[in-house]
Amino acid sequence: MYGYRLGAIGIVTTFFIIIFSTVLMPMVLFQPKPSGRGNDYKAIDAKIADAERGRKIYVREGCFYCHTQFTRIQDRGYGPLVKEGDYVYETPHQLGTARTGPDLTNEGGRFPSEWQKAHLITPRVVKPGSIMPSFSYLSEGDMNDLVAYIQTLGNKRTVTTFVQAPDEYLLTTMQGRGLAARKTVDTNSDAAANAGRGIYTQNCAACHGLEGRGNGPNAITLEKKPPNLTRDYYKQYPDEFWFYRISEGVVGTRMPRFQEVLSEEQRWYLVAYLKTLPKEHEETVNSLDDLNVAEPVHLPKLSRQQWEPHHGKE
């Protein structure tokens, strides 16, 4: 037994050195200050729904097994990047490990609360092809709190650009500067938009519909439905991103690469038109005072029955 004293000391020492370097040292050296950009769970009036309780339901239902809560540099379309200080009050952490569903870092406000709730109850009705399980067993209160939590995610991270075209479309590269130099169309002008309207009707309306709502006659035959371009999400597309999408199509869908068909000038006209599409759920206020008192989130007054087709009576 005593012949192994050195070995035993070796094992104990090794192990404690490792504990020291990878567990204790980070606790001492890595103490991020609150960035002020973390999620604000108090943003929603507690009388409407309790977002902090919603977080507990998010944990209880194991949402983090499929949804992550951190954006990476390479992620397109998931909003601002996260920083250390954003997570100070997040415990247990919900960073997640797999993205079987979309990332939820900045999910708040991306869809209306009614949509979120319907999606929790019947995921495939509002999002065909989704494999999310139905959470129809949650009680009304649980569901509202969970929706409130989802709506607060990322509510303090200000959006600068949601989506960005690949580098070759931006001014940071030579190709991008060449593209900008060749651009003669003012994409903010009514005249350019008017010119784009005809191009849109001829090339796009068959799938995207006359108003861009994704309800053109061809849409019915497509497995991946064309998007509803009137959604808020598309209102923050920069010109280059529209141009990129039109030029290179959307991989995995029937959206073609229009650079094979349309000239650069025609594509810019089209961009100008797309920017004038109507905006869904648009609310107008008459004065700034009204804007300030507007509720950040409208929680659903829907009853579960409305979303349960076979439930019976209303």
Partner: protein, 470 residues
Amino acid sequence: MSTLAQTSLLDRFFSPKEGSASRNFFLSALWWSLLGMGAGMLAASEFSMPDLIRNVPQLSMPHLRMWHVNAVAVGWLSMGYVGSMFHMIPTLCKCKLYSERLGNFTMWAWNLVMTGAFCTLLNGNTEGREYAELGAILDTLVVVGLVLTAFNLYMTIVNRKVKKLYVSLWYFLGSLFWFPLVWVIGQRTFVSLPGLNDAIIGWFYGHNILGMWFTTVGVGMMYYLIPRYVKAPLYSHGLSMLGFWGIALFYAPTGTHHITQSPVPEWLKAIAIISSIFLLVPVLTVLTNFFMSMKGKWGQVVTDLPLRFAVTSCMFYLVTCTQGPFQATRWVNWYLHFTQWVVGHAHLALLGTFSFILTSSFYYSIPRLTGKQWHSEGLIRAHYWLKFLGFLLMMSSLTTAGLIQSAGWAMGMPVDQWGLQIRPYWFLRTISGIMIVLGQCIFAYNTYKTLFTKPSGADVKAKAAREVKV
């Protein structure tokens, strides 16, 4: 008279019979493996048929997943490991287990944990930390179980009759020392750390439950079993020591490679990634040692089924441990993180490698513990092929699905676009799950027939075979 009845009741539940603790641990492990793997299969089928079960919270995918992970990790693998150690350590020390009664008590405590986990996790009573879902009471009970196991086995080694410690004992002793500590640190039951520090410790634990327990005990079992199957001495004692110290040094700091793209400190990521690559050293030394010990004996896998399980396990160990360092590097991680590739990798380690070596140990130990030969060799064969082919199918479908997902992320496509493309692979994975669970059911049936339908003492020869030279 009443004293006699009491004694027999005590003996029934906390039997002092030699080998009973090990046998009971093995049987409990088998029981929880059925429930755990069954839950995994059900969760997999919910991926391809999301509306299969509705309005049953206990059977919704996330709850099944919590239970699946805990049942196979804490129930099947850990209990089976303890069972194997209860058999292997006394044999290597040429003495009896320190206390069979204590061993059986530990077995009941562990089963209590699993019953508690079954009742809580399926209802969503979770701490919300991956791999550390169990609640405070159960966490504490697991520590009790681990400490009692460690005490029992350390005392056995103190009482040993051979002077020199075989390399398996090094691995077992090391694991029994550091795993309870890793568990206590990793659970974070009574502390509330700020988000990213929580994640750092979470992944220290999440990786080391694998690295400091499943790997080290599993490799110790391989060191025990393979020389015995092929009846040849270990190729090199020096290499085995290099492998042991390599694992002890490089495995523990690798945790942060799970979150290389999150805003945690860069130096910590660097430590994790460098150690991950250095892990190739112990892995390759260990496997060289095994494969050289098997020199000239490879033909035995045709007839020796437990050996076949063990060799398959070594092969999967080679694959999983070359995959690991490669996907921990920054660029590859950039591409592959968040996808089903990682799920495939995790199954390669836990199902492909460590479940196979545990099954091998199970098939090896039970005849030696109970003195009964296996009921049917054909069923063992069926179990092997169902598990092996099922696992290959699972691995290839998950890896392919992962590559499709990574391509989707890299091209900036939203989830619902590539989500449709991986539906066939979800389906294949369901089939693979059915095959594996079917194999496990055959395994359980074979065990039942062997232990409970044969008259005891039928094969006395097998019992004698337990006394092998070290």
